[in-house]
């Protein structure tokens, strides 16, 4: 990846993180850690130009689909969509408020650019399987990207979906596992150990690509390689830091479902802005 593109993506990711902090502080409830952990991946998906997306035509037939199966991390999705121009940024301040298009978990009927309503964990990958089957029936070249969590992977339905995607050789389905190692009650290894997770996906018949969720070169290489693989589904296992970018939130289980106070927001944003300057 060239320097200009990388700098642009870093800026977008920084802006997304700043917006996440702003909107969560304003909302007073919501999920900080899991939104920040996947922010670089979202910056890549929406701003790399590698996906077929059109904010002016959010229901474009041949668009690539993006499903945030770990729907509680929707601040990252809303921030990316607003930054991309799907809707006016002023909406971000209405997150979780009565009458807002930005519900506590994503609603495809309310938010332009949201391809699937999610929130109850484990269901988005199955919806992605259905979309991939439908797109293939139509002879479409579009891909379906589904972002799942490692805590979410404790749901049995994830593995039902995994089995079916491999069975139907869904080469147009790309999973991204936000492996941040934390869930509400603690570290995933302590609550319900899912390791060795890569072996599990391989055993279920998926191609696995392991990357850092915070390295744009690796994200790009993984997405491009995954798109080249046509004979079956690919899981990009993205090692991430929950709360990434805000030092006092990083790797802290307590920041799963907690929002910053105005002081914490200011501290977070100044740290994010400083990182952008350097």
């Amino acid at each position: 990846m060239d320097k200009t593109k990388k700098e642009m993506l870093q800026k977008k990711a920084g802006q997304i993180r700043i917006d996440i902090m702003e909107m969560l502080c304003e909302a007073g409830s919501g999920h900080s850690g899991g939104s920040l952990s996947i922010a670089d991946v979202f910056a890549y998906l929406y701003f790399s130009d590698e996906l077929k997306l059109d904010p002016k035509n959010p229901l474009m037939k041949d668009r690539d689909r993006i499903i945030l199966s770990k729907g509680h991390a929707c601040p990252v999705l809303y921030a990316a969509l607003a930054e991309k121009g799907y809707f006016d940024k002023s909406n971000l301040k209405t997150l979780r408020k009565f009458g807002s298009i930005l519900q506590g978990h994503p609603d495809m009927k309310k938010v332009p650019g949201v391809d699937m309503s999610t929130g109850s964990l484990g269901q988005g990958l199955s919806a992605g399987v259905g979309m991939a089957l439908g797109l293939r029936l139509d002879g479409s070249s579009s891909h379906v990207f589904v972002i799942i969590g490692d805590g979410e992977s404790e749901e049995g339905q994830i593995w039902e979906a995994a089995m079916s995607a491999a069975h139907y050789k869904l080469g147009n389905l790309i999973g991204i596992l936000d492996k941040n190692g934390l869930q509400i009650d603690g570290f995933t290894k302590d609550i319900m150990n899912s390791e060795p997770i890569s072996d599990k996906w391989r055993a279920f018949g998926w191609k696995v690509i392991e990357i850092s969720a915070h390295n744009f070169d690796e994200i790009e290489a993984a997405v491009l390689k995954a798109k080249e693989i046509k004979d079956g589904p690919v899981m990009i296992i993205a090692d991430s830091v929950k709360g990434k970018g805000v030092s006092f939130m990083e790797n802290q289980c307590g920041w799963h479902g907690k929002t910053p106070s105005p002081e914490e927001r200011d501290k977070a944003i100044s740290e994010l802005e400083n990182a952008l300057k350097n």
């Binding site: 009927k109 999610t118 269901q123 919806a127 259905g130 439908g134 979906a161």
Partner: protein
Amino acid sequence: MITDAAKKVLSQESKKIATRTAYGETITALGEVNENIVALDCDLSKSTMTALFAKKFPERFFNFGIAEANMMSAAAGLATIGKIPFASTFAVFATKRVADQISSSIAYPHINVKICATHSGISVGEDGATHQAIEDVAIMRAIPGIIVLSPCDAKETEKVIKAVADYNGPCYVRLTRSNIPVIFNDDYKFEIGKGNRIMEGTKATLISTGFMTHIAFEAAKKLEGQGIEIDFINMPSIKPLDEELVVESAKKTKLVVTVEDHNIIGGLGSAVCELLSDKFPVRVIRMGVQDKFGASGETYELIKAYGFDEESIIKTVKSVV
């Protein structure tokens, strides 16, 4: 007395067909004219009869194996691409096991998925309680935005399936296992939200749905033979209920008996009570499974043992008119 309108649409033949068979045949016929129709199943295609569709359109049939949750959410995904998914399995698995998938992935976004569940009620028979859905209508009725339909014979099933294929939104269609008499002929018209009065009288209103209609119809005819003329209503549309028809009949007879192969909590009887308690309170007797689990046995033996066979219906109506 059989109504003039009913006379025109009642079948003169004495055929017996299971509603699940009519379902499989109808989606196959629809598949011929609409290439967006797809069928999904969970390893029960030979029982739900989606196998008929699978044979004709293998590329548009998806077997998800024994994994109902995945099937329901995948059906939602297929529908977002413009497909019209008919997702089938036994009613116990199509509702109780996947209530959240239906609620979150299908109903909340109001996605165009048709859940067509077979083997509902204790009329399933020998498989016993674990395979007899007696709560499915209650669960589906309680989820906002889902149409709940329960056809009574093969012809009504055909019309119901065509109607749900034309309707844009989530539907639950309750089908049954056993071969039952075909009540209607091809002139019968079905509309979502409409029931039909087959017989008319003033002594009581008897409302039945699904598997129970052929039994209730016989009971109504025998009651007439004994000089007790009642309104007999077949109610395929449980949600939305045909409120106009039920209220109008209740105003006339002031006594309602409902009968369904389902728990008396949450099904047709409850829907009628909820309506009438608001619009025209009259006595309503709910016949069906009296809040207990089913059991193994032969279909009609079970219906009798659980107290809603033809004789029990006659006895119940006679005891209150």
